[in-house]
Subunit: 141 residues, 3 copies
């Protein structure tokens, strides 16, 4: 876990990109009664602003999906790199996960058919499962 270990550097690059992706996804919106009052965050309140909004609800579901997957990936990836895997394997899995999440974002944001989104989601999930199973086996053997 030092920055002169290229496997660890691979992890740090993938992890920080996923952290930034997660922070950048709008998950909030106007949810609470007090959010209806005017202010810099809501200069023009209007009736119905607390109602679900297609765009905001979609972004919220995307953020929710990030919340379910990215923290688990961050820990699974960290434990996986502690098993000292070959650099190429680490790069394929860790950067592969980042790529599937970006592709999932694109498929979700542009409302592509469910299959497209599900394919990227499944590949990302299989990467996390694969790293966790490998690390578990490494630990018990």
């Amino acid at each position: 876990m030092t920055f002169d270990n290229p496997v660890f550097v691979t992890y740090v690059i993938a992890a920080t990109l996923m952290i930034l992706k997660s922070m950048g996804q709008v998950g909030g919106g106007f949810l609470n009664p007090e959010d209806k009052s005017a202010g810099w965050a809501n200069p023009n309140p209007r009736p119905g602003q607390l109602d679900p909004d297609d765009y905001v609800e979609r972004s919220r579901r995307m953020h929710h999906n990030d919340t379910e997957n990215i923290p688990v990936f961050l820990v699974a990836g960290l434990l996986f790199v502690l098993t000292q895997p070959p650099l190429l394997v680490a790069q394929v899995l860790l950067y592969g996960f980042v790529a599937t999440r970006l592709a999932h974002f694109w498929a979700y944001f542009t409302a592509k058919p469910h299959e497209v989104r599900a394919t990227f989601f499944s590949i990302g999930s299989l990467i996390v499962i694969g790293m966790a199973v490998y690390t578990f086996m490494y630990a018990i053997l």
Copy 2:
């Protein structure tokens, strides 16, 4: 944090099991307008498929509960093992948490009375709180 340290190995086993549990819990389902079109992930679309479904909603609440607890456990456990606790203590707490989550899953899935689920949930939460308090005290003393 090396694999010849039995306390760290205990953590890795508990952590990877919890990661796999979290990945295995279905959290998704059909949520978006585009999910109504036919494809391999939804071969027979039908009206009302986006409506809440008892089984899917239950699984989603269970996944949500995992999302709230497992990432926090993963970090709390990692910091706890860095305090170099006795092996037996680490095994009781870390495997104990895994056991309470599996029991919570069983109680939730079979819709056992709220008390059963709440008991397992509370024991798991107390383990995380205990590890965090101990680690906090260890850090400031």
Copy 3:
């Protein structure tokens, strides 16, 4: 990552406080059909108990907000301290995040105008983003 490194100790203090904050936030409530039966967790069931309740829904939104932010902070902070930043910088950022979350809790709990809550939330998010960008740059350079 040892307890004689004051930067790491700063991280452990901030991380365990955030773990305890996250565990202390009630996120549950009565959600499932089986939760209507009487027992120690619900001594006096009444009709409508599964309906959304203003207080519980607010707490649930607050917990949800924790779930979205705290795990990502825990990993971002850990990777940041591995870059060996100056102690003062680590203290300002890590304790600063803790302070913004506590202030966010207060603003949310007392239903302060959206701007107050959004300000604390934004400062906390900027701290995580700043740590992640710095760690990313440190890794690739």
